[in-house]
């Protein structure tokens, strides 16, 4: 009984905090239509400031609790809300769903970055509960702390207050009306910006309150843990379907109780070692479950948006040329780059390969996936286990496994490609058999003890691709009917699940595959000690272990091949079906498109690409840890920067990956180098260095995430003139000069800086020259498409149009026919 009371009270208290946070989330969502991913981060930030004011010895500290509370909740958090609304969120009405997700994610990363920057050292910061740790009262045999009591009372009070505000006051009703139709609110005579501002103020204050209340329950302040804890409020918010406040409140309490009772039953996770991390995942499991049980959204037609994304598909020919150019440029760079820089660059390209999975899934098919790195992590883990990690009695188990996976994979994908019945089966089975052959004969897994190989094998990568592909299908299966934000949240839940349940898993798994060997065939430790040493590959007679250049080129070639495959896919029937599904699910359904099959296959393919990329990327890094590089936050960062790059383009994936993996780190290094060279400006360079390191990605996201087409298209538009027929001469001259400069560099006649200083201007100048030339030619031809837009069409214009459209002969035929008839 005492235990029951204790765990109930703990659950109620933590549930009340979830409720406060989720109610704040719902208020901003219902009034702005934006799901504030930064909500948890705002709470985390407020908790840090509160700690600073109350307990820090160096600055602040010793503020009395009421004053510190009032300062944080009435001044800091509301100002954050005002800033967010005025600077960031205001322009988001009418933008695409992706943009509405990316901007709050960028804001969240910005808060995490700022907090990491300001509170840099690893000092342990322990906030105290209200009235100290010893203030408690008795209920039966159980003790209830004053902090817990305050939390519950405040939560109930706030819930009632907000309900009254939103349903019974005019400003509250206006806040809700703004979501329905901003323009109509104006026509009714009210300024929608004012009510949106109020809702952001309330939302941030509630997030801050939740952060302050929850931090004493966690021990030392931790940026990511605090941010993620308020993420648990997402589940409660979804429980209230993002609009119903009482249900949201109850949802928060229920989640708190569920977590607390699980702790009770499992002895804080000790009873079942496999499930030891489950308590951290219960809220996201609930989130996933609620999303799936929610009534199905009606198929919608194409929505009219302010900002349209326009993704053009490049022709196959130009893509192949660009692909070759890319590989040539990367190979050309290798002789002049130090290994350190090669490694940075290959890291970026590794992320780019994973980002390609988002181009397919989000850019082409319009399905939002916030867990790209979870699939990549599964891929890396599978490759590791296949090649190194496991103890195997007989390799036949692996062979069977990969054949079955290949069969399933081929079936899923091919059926969506339009293969039917006999053809489908024949093809799938032959692909499965080919896999079996590869794995057994060419890669020698039938013998005993393939484990502890010292290099990554082709079949290891293949198995990684297959396993993550099937994992993608498994995740997609329940989530098939979700779209947009809801799908994003479901995948987000999956990413957190993988973070907690897979990366933190220390158990040993033994499998007995029937008919082979005796006893347990395969034994492996899932995530050994929180770090895995990934092997480098060793195939085609090349040893990639010590040769970073070869690894870089391998990654570049892999990227190019997958990118070309995606462009080919986009131009096929399958690609057009994806576009149709993205533009208007309703129209696609009426055309008889089987969207279930389509979605399942595109999820499978995308997850497989991510898994492949993950395996290669991890192999390049040589090691993966439980907290890097495949965690949920890194996934959000990569997603954000891919959108910045242009999620509808493979080049956008390249830019996103390189920005994420290379650019900010290299820039940081650059400034760090400057600060050691120029000691007197040390403070300035250190500041710039820290800025790039902590805030670079977030600032890029906030600044550029709004352009739904990404920066890839702008960059390519700039260089497009070079590809035109007229500028072929300029192109040849440019390539010749750059190649000769390159030869000078490789033969060590000039240094790297001279190379850069020579080749970049040549690139720019030749683009400018080509642009000038094509402009001159364009001026000679009239823009006949634009005739008649500004002025009336004259007879002369009409004759010109006829000539351009080749209608002259047609018209004269008509006239002569009329003449004859008369």
């Amino acid at each position: 009984m005492t235990e029951l009371i204790t765990f109930t009270v703990v659950g109620l208290a933590i549930g009340s905090i979830y409720s406060i946070a989720s109610v704040g989330l719902v208020v901003t969502y219902t009034t702005s239509g934006i799901f504030n991913f930064a909500h948890g981060a705002i709470g985390m930030f407020a908790a840090f400031i509160y700690w600073q004011l109350r307990w820090d010895s160096a600055w602040g500290g010793e503020w009395p609790a009421p004053i510190a509370l009032a300062f944080v909740l009435l001044i800091v958090s509301p100002s954050l809300g005002i800033l967010l609304q005025a600077i960031v969120m205001k322009g988001l009405e009418g933008t695409s769903e992706t943009t509405k997700l990316v901007i709050p994610i960028a804001v969240m990363l910005a808060f995490i970055g700022i907090t990491n920057w300001v509170w840099q050292d690893f000092e342990s910061r322990i906030p105290e509960p209200f009235f100290g740790r010893d203030s408690k009262w008795e209920l039966g045999d159980a003790f209830i702390t004053t902090h817990q009591t305050i939390v519950v009372v405040v939560a109930v009070f706030l819930a009632i207050l907000l309900k009254v505000l939103l349903t019974s006051t005019r400003i509250g009703i206006t806040m809700r009306a703004v979501v329905d139709n901003q323009d109509l609110v104006r026509l009714n005579g009210s300024n929608p910006n004012a009510s949106a501002l109020l809702s952001w103020i309330i939302g941030s204050a509630l997030a801050g309150l939740a952060g302050i209340l929850i931090s004493p329950l966690l021990g030392s302040l931790n940026v990511l843990a605090l941010t993620l804890l308020v993420v648990n409020a997402y589940a409660a918010a979804i429980f209230g379907r993002l609009k119903n406040l009482p249900l949201t409140f109850l949802g928060g309490i229920a989640i708190g109780l569920a977590v607390s009772y699980w702790n009770w039953v499992s002895g804080t996770g000790r009873k079942w070692p496999w499930l030891s991390e489950l308590r951290a995942t219960i809220p996201v499991l609930i989130l996933f479950a609620i999303l799936i049980v929610l009534p199905q959204e009606r198929l919608r037609g194409a929505a009219i948006k302010k900002h349209r994304e326009v993704f053009t598909t490049p022709t196959m020919k130009s893509s192949i040329l660009w692909g070759i150019a890319f590989v040539v440029i990367i190979s050309g760079l290798t002789p002049m780059l130090e290994t350190k820089w090669e490694f940075s660059l290959s890291k970026g390209i590794g992320f780019s390969i994973i980002a390609l999975s988002m181009v397919l899934l989000t850019g082409y098919a319009g399905e939002i996936n916030l867990a790209p790195l979870a699939f990549a992590g599964i891929g890396a883990l599978s490759a590791y286990q296949f090649d190194v990690g496991s103890t195997v009695e007989t390799g036949a188990g692996f062979a069977t496994l990969s054949t079955l996976l290949a069969l399933l994979f081929a079936f899923l994908v091919l059926s969506a490609f339009g293969f039917k019945r006999k053809k489908l089966w024949v093809l799938s089975v032959s692909i499965a058999l080919a896999t079996l052959l590869l794995v057994t004969i060419f890669d020698d897994t039938t013998g005993t003890g393939i484990a502890s190989r010292e290099s990554m094998s082709i079949s290891g990568i293949l198995v990684a691709t297959l396993i993550s592909g099937i994992a993608g299908a498994l995740v997609a299966l329940p989530a098939l009917r979700l779209r947009g934000l809801y799908l994003g949240l479901a995948t987000f839940a999956f990413a957190i699940f993988v973070d907690k349940m897979v990366y933190k898993q220390r158990q040993t798994l033994s499998l007995d595959i029937p008919f082979f060997g005796d006893g347990e065939d395969i034994t492996f430790n899932i995530f050994n000690n929180g770090a895995l040493n990934m092997p480098r590959p060793d195939f085609f007679g090349i040893n990639f272990k010590s040769n970073q250049s070869a690894m870089l080129i391998l990654l570049a070639i892999s990227f190019t091949l997958i990118a070309l495959f995606l462009i080919r896919l986009k131009r096929s029937t399958y690609g057009r079906q994806l576009s149709a599904m993205k533009d208007s699910p309703a129209a696609s359904a009426t055309l008889g498109l089987n969207m279930l099959r389509l979605k399942l296959s595109v999820f499978t393919l995308a997850a497989a690409i991510a898994g492949f990329g993950g395996a290669l990327h991890a192999s390049n890094l040589r090691a993966i840890q439980e907290d890097a590089p495949f965690t949920v936050f890194e996934g959000l960062g990569l997603f954000m920067l891919t959108v910045v790059g242009g999620i509808g383009y493979v080049s956008g994936a390249l830019i996103g990956g390189i920005l994420y993996g290379t650019a900010f780190i290299v820039m940081g290094d650059f400034w760090a180098k400057l600060s050691t060279d120029w000691n007197s400006f040390n403070w300035l360079f250190t500041f710039v260095h820290d800025f790039f390191l902590f805030l670079g990605p977030a600032v890029a996201g906030i600044g550029l995430g709004r352009n739904p087409n990404g920066i890839a298209s702008q960059i390519f538009d700039g260089f497009r003139v070079l590809g035109q027929r007229e500028s072929r001469r300029v192109l040849t001259i440019m390539i010749t000069i750059i190649t000769s400069v390159w030869i000078l560099r490789v033969s060590n006649l000039i240094d790297g800086w001279t190379f850069l200083l020579l080749s970049l201007p040549i690139l720019l100048i030749s683009t400018l020259i080509a642009d000038k030339r094509s402009n001159l030619e364009e001026a000679e031809t009239r823009n006949w498409e634009l005739l008649g837009i500004n002025t009336e069409i004259s007879m002369e214009d009409e004759a010109f149009l006829d000539q351009m459209l080749d209608l002259g002969s047609y018209k004269s035929q008509q006239i002569s026919k009329v003449d004859r008839d008369e």
């Binding site: 349903t167 005019r170 329905d180 609110v185 104006r186 026509l187 005579g189 009210s190 300024n191 500004n790």
Partner: protein, 237 residues
């Protein structure tokens, strides 16, 4: 005659770089019902958006009661007595009927006054005051949006496609209200594709094609030109 309630002088505008209206001249006086007719894509709704300050004119001037409305916020114009009922139902679907009425109080009327006018004119809305507006029938939704015109005492009423998707009998009823409002001295500018109904109540009419008013006159005069305008036999010359 005193100043017209709404006066457009040589107004041109468009969206982004695409021009829609080319030099519109138009005036609506007290008690007038000006019917703006024409086929799709002619710029009818754009004229209403310029008048209600939802978009800026590129050139020319828009005057309400003799004063230029340049730089005035849309919400202030609404408060000053310009009531715009936009295309599609001008209601908030996720608010209840009652909450929709509360939103109308932003135009400086008391809730009691709005409720009594609305429920007297449309008793069926009174029975559904706690129902979500989005779940009302199409006709009821249009009634709810019209009740803003009725109850907030506007001086100028701008109506966009009142008849859209409604049964003829309801349309007739709604236009009855419009002419009643005009008799009380309100100026009305109504945009319609469904021309015959509105010509019955209009005092003046204009045909708008490709961003220009190609002819203007009494409803009877325009009736003959309508089929030409809609079928495009004359319009594009």
């Amino acid at each position: 005659m005193d100043k017209p309630l709404l006066e457009l002088e040589n107004v041109s505008t468009g969206y982004g770089i695409i021009p829609v209206l080319h030099g519109i001249n138009l005036s609506v006086g007290k008690g007038d019902i000006y019917a703006l007719l024409g086929p799709n894509g002619g710029g009818k709704s754009t004229i209403l958006k310029v008048c209600s300050r939802q978009i800026d004119p590129w050139a020319g001037s828009v005057k309400v009661a003799g004063r230029s409305i340049e730089g005035i916020a849309a919400e202030d114009l609404a408060k000053a007595g310009v009531c715009t009922i936009p295309e599609g139902k001008g209601i908030f679907p996720n608010l209840t009927v009652e909450e929709n009425l509360i939103m109308m109080t932003h135009a400086c009327q008391s809730l009691q006054a709005i409720q009594s006018v609305t429920f007297e004119r449309f008793p069926q809305l009174g029975n559904k005051r706690n129902q979500l507006a989005g779940t009302l029938s199409g006709g009821e939704q249009q009634m709810l949006s019209m009740s803003r015109a009725l109850s907030t005492n506007p001086k100028l009423l701008l109506l966009d496609e009142l008849s859209m998707g409604l049964a003829p009998i309801i349309v007739k009823d709604l236009y009855g209200i419009v002419s009643q409002l005009a008799e009380e001295g309100i100026g009305v500018l109504v945009v319609e594709q469904f021309a015959r109904t509105v010509l019955g109540v209009a005092t003046r009419a204009g045909i708008l094609i490709n961003g220009k008013i190609i002819s203007e006159g009494s409803p009877a005069e325009l009736e003959d030109q309508l089929s030409d305008a809609y079928l495009g036999t004359k319009g594009n010359v």
